[in-house]
């Protein structure tokens, strides 16, 4: 699914204009704890989160995340948006809650990119 489709489905607002939205994502993952994200997300995912600080963007870069969607209409700080714009990570804010948005994306065919805790890292 392309990032522009996720923007549509989430009724979202793009916070980082000028970034390519044709990029494909392989699935999604939702979490507020960055360690959970680092532990469980597979590459090329879109991250759904309620956490708004710049660490979200840094986590995205480390974990090869393609886009970040803030749920429940949360607005990240300016530093977060600036960092994302500089690193070309698309940021979207969606009025939907984490559960609602997860359900809609799953229904639209976007799979979960969460891997089990005992999944060895070499096999992802």
């Amino acid at each position: 699914m392309k990032i522009k489709d996720i923007l549509d489905i989430s009724n979202g607002v793009l916070l980082t204009p000028g970034i390519d939205l044709e990029t494909e994502t392989k699935g999604a993952f939702g979490a507020d704890l960055m360690s959970d994200v680092l532990a469980s997300i597979q590459p090329e995912a879109v991250l759904l989160t309620g956490l708004c600080n710049p660490q979200v963007v840094r986590t995205a870069l480390i974990a090869d995340i393609r886009a970040i969607v803030f749920v429940r209409g949360k607005m990240p700080a300016v530093e977060t948006i600036d960092l994302a714009a500089a690193e070309e990570v698309p940021l979207i804010t969606s009025p939907l809650g984490l559960y609602e948005l997860s359900g809609r994306l799953m229904q639209a065919g976007l799979p979960s990119l969460e891997m089990a805790m005992n999944h060895p890292f070499d096999q992802d």
Binding site: G18, D36, P43, Q55, V56, I62, A63
Partner: protein
């Protein structure tokens, strides 16, 4: 770009973004034409027509002494020919409502003016308001293409040099060491060092999977230094052709119970830290999953030393740490 309905591929989209960036970075003086052919206001239109033909130009600034007073374009010449008054002077036909641009303006400013005013050329003024050059859309296209070419060559060179670092240098054991000082409670920059490390590894030719795993491990280690130390600590990354050694060390306070700290979900982080999305008690567990070897030494007297190794030889895979887990 001239086509009305351009088909934009991913590769195009990438370079368009860079072109847009360049439009802001490049100054007019870097792309304008200098050594401009100029006319004087008292010249006859016949003389102007002759010089347009001779110089193969379609417009020129008009100067009185040192001062720019107008601009004569091919349209003005046509108007004059239609009037049949080729005997009149340049001053009679030139346009004196001048739209100019400054040498220090960004190129994007000129693009805006071209779109807004539909003029074909802009006289360029220096900081003393003297004519310094002339700018057409063609000049901008040329300037952007040249800048892109420079960019491309510079990036190729850096990438080539970095990925051949270990081959080019001859020693019994070559390694590259990166050090980062991590401050306590510096959440604003939390993860910045780890991102630099990941980018450095990619630049040195590491495969994306290795860079990602090392990135995750040092990110967790970096956040631990920010959250749990008295005064912060140091990240030290040693890169060798066959392995990457990552160390995080600090001077205290030390971990009370190392065995407990290694249990998934165990955390001593404060509520404030948890609100920021950290302190889930998964950091060390994550690290152990990402790297091939991990050692944690901690004491009240000497602080904590976290030692992580990633082997780059394909033969040596994750066996060691996963063997221990089972």
């Amino acid at each position: 770009m001239a086509s009305r309905y351009p088909v934009i591929s991913d590769a195009d989209a990438e370079s368009i973004t860079r072109v847009e960036e360049l439009a802001y970075e490049l100054r007019i003086e870097e792309v304008m034409t200098t050594n401009v052919f100029t006319l004087s206001p008292e010249m006859t239109m016949k003389a102007a027509l002759d010089s347009f033909q001779k110089e193969r130009i379609s417009g020129a600034p008009v100067k009185l002494g040192d001062t720019l007073v107008g601009l004569l374009s091919i349209e003005d010449l046509i108007r004059c020919l239609r009037d049949g008054r080729i005997d009149l002077t340049v001053a009679d036909y030139m346009s004196d409502k001048l739209i100019t641009i400054n040498t220090f303006d960004p190129v994007v400013e000129a693009l805006r003016l071209f779109v807004k005013t539909k003029v074909g050329r802009l006289p360029v003024l220096d900081s003393n308001k003297k004519l310094a050059g002339i700018l057409t859309k063609g000049d901008i296209t040329n300037g952007l293409l040249k800048a892109l070419q420079r960019d491309y060559q510079a990036e190729e060179l850096i990438r080539y040099r970095a990925s051949h670092l270990f081959e080019d240098i001859n020693s019994d054991r070559t390694s590259l060491i990166l050090r980062y000082n991590i401050k306590k409670d510096d959440f604003t920059h939390g993860g910045a060092a780890s991102n630099h490390i990941k980018k450095a590894l990619l630049r040195l030719g590491a495969d994306p999977q290795t860079a990602r795993r090392c990135g995750i491990a040092v990110y967790e280690a970096e956040m631990n230094l920010i959250i749990h130390t008295d005064k912060g600590g140091t990240l030290r990354i040693e890169i060798e052709p066959h392995k990457i050694t990552m160390e995080a060390y600090d001077e205290g306070p030390g971990i009370d119970d190392v065995e407990k700290a290694m249990q998934p979900g165990y955390s001593t982080a404060t509520e404030k830290v948890r609100e920021m999305g950290f302190g889930a008690g998964m950091g060390l567990v994550n690290i152990k999953r990402c790297v091939n070897e991990m050692k944690l030494i901690s004491s009240k007297e000497r602080g904590t030393n976290l030692f992580m190794v990633m082997h780059l030889d394909r033969q040596v895979t994750n066996q060691q740490s996963y063997g221990e887990n089972k």
